[in-house]
């Protein structure tokens, strides 16, 4: 197992190098002076042209492309991500500030969609071709067809504006003292995001479960005279879950992307909102860094998925 993990980790490295290289290329190609991105605005404010040129030389901006790339990579490893062009705040600070909000929303939505999706998918597979299954299938199709922002708008109108059950947006308010206070704010966005992802999980669980209960080892279990719930849950579901884990795992990083629109509608102060602002103001360093962060999370998630799949499915060979 350990050697499997290490081998899998090693395959991540070339991909990370390619991705960081592309992002660096993007930064080089987009307009904007690299000095302001690297040095911060205070240092820039009182400088003459000669001083700037000297600074450029001392920062190594006149070096060759590859040298600059590896220096940039080294800085990133030390935690120096550069500065936002519009506010001058270090990008590291911005991400550290915004990431918890996004993770909170994403994890809540992930939890909702996973639990609801697997239960409904399982139900659908076990009642195959019965009315329950038909209704759930059509409901799932409707779920993936409604744009999530439209879904969010309807929820916002009904539950926040008309019924007044939930706040219209935001995350933390000055009057909140206990963590649980802001559950009210979290509720609507996470439900909308969660429900919009449920259909995918449900469909996947259903087909995966149908696939498994027709396998020989499930028939063996049945012929041994095991009770039906044991067959379904221990023999069928455990294996059927593996592909579902893959799907859920891939949703994990998508959530940074997936929550962009929902964060905008509910004024959720997360990475997605920051990303949109950066895109609008063409704040390239911030755009690139958030993109890189999301890529990093995708790669990390796919690594974790492989490990978990190996643990869940006894048929996966580790060597």
């Amino acid at each position: 197992m350990v050697s499997y993990i290490i081998r899998r980790l090693l395959t991540l490295i070339p991909m990370l190098l390619i991705m960081t290289f592309l992002i660096f290329l993007g930064l080089e190609m987009t307009p904007g002076d690299a000095v302001s991105f690297l040095a911060g605005p205070e240092a820039m404010a009182n400088m003459t042209q000669e001083q700037l040129a000297a600074l450029r030389e001392s920062m190594g901006l006149n070096d060759s492309f590859l040298v600059r790339y590896f220096r940039w990579l080294g800085n990133m490893c030390k935690g120096d991500f550069g500065y936002s062009l519009t506010s001058g705040v270090p990008i590291k600070t911005i991400i550290a500030e915004r990431l918890p909000a996004t993770l909170e929303l994403s994890l809540a939505a992930l939890l909702i969609s996973t639990i609801l999706g697997t239960i409904l998918g399982l139900l659908s597979a076990m009642k195959r071709d019965q009315p329950v299954d038909r209704i759930l299938t059509v409901a799932g199709m409707v779920g993936v067809s409604i744009p999530e922002f439209f879904f969010g708008l309807v929820f916002l109108l009904v539950f926040s504006i008309n019924l007044g059950w939930f706040p219209v947006g935001g995350r933390l308010r000055p009057e909140y003292t206990v963590y649980w206070d802001h559950m009210k704010n979290l509720f609507l966005p996470s439900i909308v995001l969660g429900l919009s992802m449920t259909a995918g999980v449900m469909r996947y669980t259903r087909s995966s479960m149908l696939d498994t209960i027709n396998k020989d080892y499930v028939k063996t279990a049945r012929s041994k005279g095991l009770p039906e719930w044991r067959i379904n849950l221990l023999h069928g579901f455990r294996v059927a879950l593996a592909p579902v884990v893959v799907l859920v795992g891939f949703r994990l990083p998508m959530l940074i992307g997936g929550s962009v629109v929902i964060e905008q509608i509910f004024q959720w102060p997360g990475i997605g909102n920051e990303f949109l602002q950066a895109v609008r103001s063409q704040n390239y360093p911030l755009v690139m860094m958030i993109a890189l962060l999301s890529v990093f999370m995708v790669l990390l998630a796919s690594f974790l998925i492989d490990i978990i799949t190996a643990l869940l499915d006894p048929r996966v060979q580790l060597d």
Binding site: I18, S145, F150, L153, V168, G257, V260, Q264, V279, S294
Partner: protein, 306 residues
């Protein structure tokens, strides 16, 4: 019993007769169509799809309003006989905007799906058949594109190249070809093992002919399904991006741009006709495409049934 036998007998005769005339195989091909027609949901989908598509294409027949004409005397009127979906903040007729907007939204969705499919299918066919360095490079490239969450990559590219309809279609193609490429490639890899391909190879048939004329048609079913479903996806993406104000430029009417008005809480609360009907139209249209795609999958690939 006697009667049934006679009916069967007659049917058999008909088949034999058709076979003699050489028309039987044509009937057999229609089985896919027949199975599709038997799927009630797909049929409903097809009807809804056709209605919305035709109304968008023939927009001038259904409304005499200009979707871009500003009329400050008729601002924010609620739906009435004169304006079916009411008017917006600038007095533009919302119904006309939805109809004309459909043209652009469907064009963006379908155009992007076709473009992505073209690139994906060509690369996937060649890569799957030939393998080697070319295949490895393209596979790596698709991995790079697929490592980004799609909307992040789309927004990143929008920020770099700027907003326009052409750019948006290009970006969608660039970010969307990976999925269909992988599917075509894996399909090709399995078709490659079949005996008829081995035979063609043994006869030294031109490899281009083998993959595009003899192998590709056998992978067409899933490709068609993929094009359908990605059209739905791109329409949804265009709507989201335009809703955020980062898709097609605002002066062009598209479904997403009409919905853009709902960014304002006041509009959301008091002027439902500005965003509710168009939201429902998008949902219905995408739903109908998804139903069609599902029906196509069931009828073209029996192993996927159920």
């Amino acid at each position: 019993m006697k009667h049934r036998e006679r009916v069967l007998q007659a049917k058999m005769d008909r088949i034999l007769e058709a076979e003699e005339q050489g028309t039987y195989s044509k009937k057999k091909r229609n089985r896919v169509v027949m199975r599709f027609m038997n799927n009630r949901l797909s049929l409903v989908g097809l009807v809804v799809f056709a209605i919305i598509l035709l109304m968008s294409i023939g927009a001038p027949l259904f409304t005499h309003y200009d979707p871009l004409k500003i009329s400050l005397k008729e601002v924010l009127q609620s739906p009435s006989g004169k304006h079916i979906f009411g008017t917006d903040k600038l007095g533009r007729d919302v119904f006309a905007r939805v109809l004309y907007g459909g043209r652009i939204s469907i064009l963006v969705g379908f155009g992007s799906a076709l473009g992505a499919a073209f690139i994906g299918v060509v690369l996937g066919t060649l890569g799957g058949y030939k393998g080697g360095v070319f295949d490895k490079c393209v596979m790596r490239l698709s991995e790079v594109f697929m490592s980004f969450p799609q909307i992040i990559l789309v927004l990143l590219l929008v920020s770099m190249v700027g907003q326009s309809m052409g750019n948006l279609i290009m970006i969608f193609i660039l970010t969307g070809w990976g999925g269909i490429y992988r599917m075509t490639r894996s399909k090709m890899l399995s078709i490659k093992q079949e005996e008829y391909v081995q035979a063609l190879k043994a006869f030294d048939v031109n490899p281009w002919l083998i993959c595009f004329k003899h192998m590709l048609p056998n992978a067409l079913g899933p490709i068609l399904v993929n094009i359908t479903l990605s059209t739905a996806m791109f329409i949804l993406q265009e709507a989201s991006l335009s809703f955020l104000g980062l898709g097609v430029p605002l002066q062009i009417a598209t479904w997403g741009n009409v919905l853009n008005a709902a960014n304002d809480l006041q509009v959301l609360k008091s002027y439902w006709w500005l965003w509710l009907p168009v939201g429902i139209v998008i949902s219905l249209f995408v739903l109908s495409i998804n139903f069609i795609g599902d029906g196509l999958r069931d009828s073209s690939d029996p192993s996927q049934m159920g």
